[in-house]
């Protein structure tokens, strides 16, 4: 990156509000081009759950493994080349095996759970885990206490998020996403929103990755007065990953398009980055087309640079 780029962003604070895989990839690109102190990452913890007494934070872990380049290329969870010896042994003892947890992955959950039990906050544990991975990223959970996302299906049954997503493979159609917990955001989240010159909503699921953050007390109100750029998690009507495309028709009564999501975020977004061909005249938000598919690390860097350039052109145009 040029000296001009560096000196411009050195003076800005960029906050990303992220879910799992899509968010993690864009965050990875951003960490590779932005000055360390310019970037803050606030992460959804609505998916967090207790597994055999271990506290698992899927979105925090996905970012941890993505940034440390331990994430597998071919699947959206866990650590590349991990083994499953503990889980196999647990199955033989009659334990649960519906959630895949590798041996190295479990070390992270054990470390986190133990630290939480000895009184550390989730923010402190998260920082420690990132430092242990030699990552200096400024990253924090959206909340210190559990704020569980639950799924109410069309039959009126309510499922824990992981039960719905993993055990039931997201088959029951979603009538409503329900948020539990006291809605108290982490101190780090509120501070980073206050400090932010730019907020990025990466290509994460709006309903189950971004909304859990937005619904926390005071968050949406504060974001409304901030410049916000979103990146669409839908390309030509399809989700890059996960159950999003199936959720839009039931939750928004519309076909699954990027501009349906733009309209959903309308009160927040200043600019929405969509795939080539996905900008529509019916879009209620300023949309720009870029290649948003992140197939490899170069594509993450390129999209990160595109998003920052768009922010500079469209949002900070008056700045030097």
């Amino acid at each position: 990156m040029s000296h001009d780029f560096q000196s411009f962003w050195q003076r800005k604070k960029v906050l990303v509000l992220s879910g799992g895989v899509g968010g993690a990839k864009l965050v990875h690109g951003l960490t590779r081009i932005l000055p360390e102190t310019s970037l803050n990452i606030g992460v959804n913890t609505g998916d967090d759950f207790d597994w055999m007494g271990l506290w698992i934070c899927p979105d925090l872990d996905t970012i941890l493994y993505t940034l440390s380049e331990r994430a597998p290329i071919d699947r959206g969870w866990g650590i590349a080349n991990d083994t499953f010896h503990l889980l196999d042994a647990l199955r033989d003892l009659g334990g649960p095996d519906w959630f895949m947890l590798g041996d190295q992955d479990l070390a992270v959950h054990l470390m986190r759970t133990h630290a939480l039990c000895t009184g550390q906050s989730l923010s402190e544990v998260t920082t420690a885990l990132f430092r242990a991975h030699k990552l200096r990223t400024q990253i924090f959970p959206m909340a210190e206490t559990p704020q569980a996302t639950r799924i109410e299906d069309l039959q009126g049954e309510t499922h824990s998020f992981q039960d719905w997503l993993v055990k039931l493979r997201a088959v029951p159609k979603v009538k409503r996403v329900v948020f539990q917990g006291d809605g108290e955001p982490s101190h780090a989240l509120m501070e980073s929103i206050h400090a932010a010159d730019l907020v990025i909503l990466p290509p994460s699921n709006p309903f189950v990755s971004i909304d859990p953050i937005l619904r926390l007390t005071g968050v949406r109100e504060l974001l409304r007065i901030k410049p916000v750029i979103g990146v669409a998690p839908i390309i030509h009507g399809q989700a890059v990953k996960g159950p999003l495309a199936e959720m839009i028709p039931t939750l928004l009564s519309q076909p699954p398009t990027a501009h349906a999501l733009a309209a959903y975020y309308e009160d927040l977004l200043d600019l929405y980055v969509v795939a080539p061909g996905d900008a529509s005249s019916s879009c209620t938000v300023a949309c720009v087309e870029r290649d948003i598919m992140m197939r490899d690390i170069a594509a993450r860097d390129r999209l990160a640079a595109d998003v920052l350039d768009l922010a500079r052109t469209h949002i900070f145009a008056a700045d030097t």
Copy 2:
């Protein structure tokens, strides 16, 4: 085993009070020759400890792995051919690595801890773990609640048992063994002592494996009126395994001999089985010499049969 053997022991209840490796080997032999319903195993839990929030019961596990023939031939802990991927990953995160725990081994600790946390008693969990290993052994912990054994060294410092044994490699000389907890024995232990026609003290460390059981409320008093056969954990002045030989001179002010231990148990023992050449005229308890070294499974079976035959000859002589 002969029909006569079977029908004799069918009508008896044999209780073994066991520590780790030595006890486990004799128990293994006994399970292979005695009718299932004749044998009860009460196990020391004074070594139990919390490791990263997991509750580990070394002596119960040693028996579990020995009876299921998962124990390694060449070392006294864990599971043969286990891997250490979780522990290796934990070390990279700054976690503890002084206590070796394999991936399959950890599955047992995770299962136990989770069951305890959901309200099961240690006895219930133990039964479930043995059943999951397809073992129908009647086995139970000496107590349901923690009764920690601690080591006070000659410098007056007190260590948790595993810190002393594993972290400090049993180097600090033992001034005194200290027992914590309320001293409440498990219901199963007291019931099995009441019911016992014969009690066997296998070749386990008297000070840190058997005493923790004997000191529980009411146990020693009840054992005094029962026929008790012991098997020496010392052969020609050396412990088969562990720090026992070094403990005897400081704790009993005597050289490490089988008859020093016979005298230590004097009020309880009816017969003490020692290695060839270890019976001494200074022995205050009736001693008989047998090959008590259990090098392989055949030797476990042989010693188990020897102990039962000795009981039959010396203790049940009046019975048919």
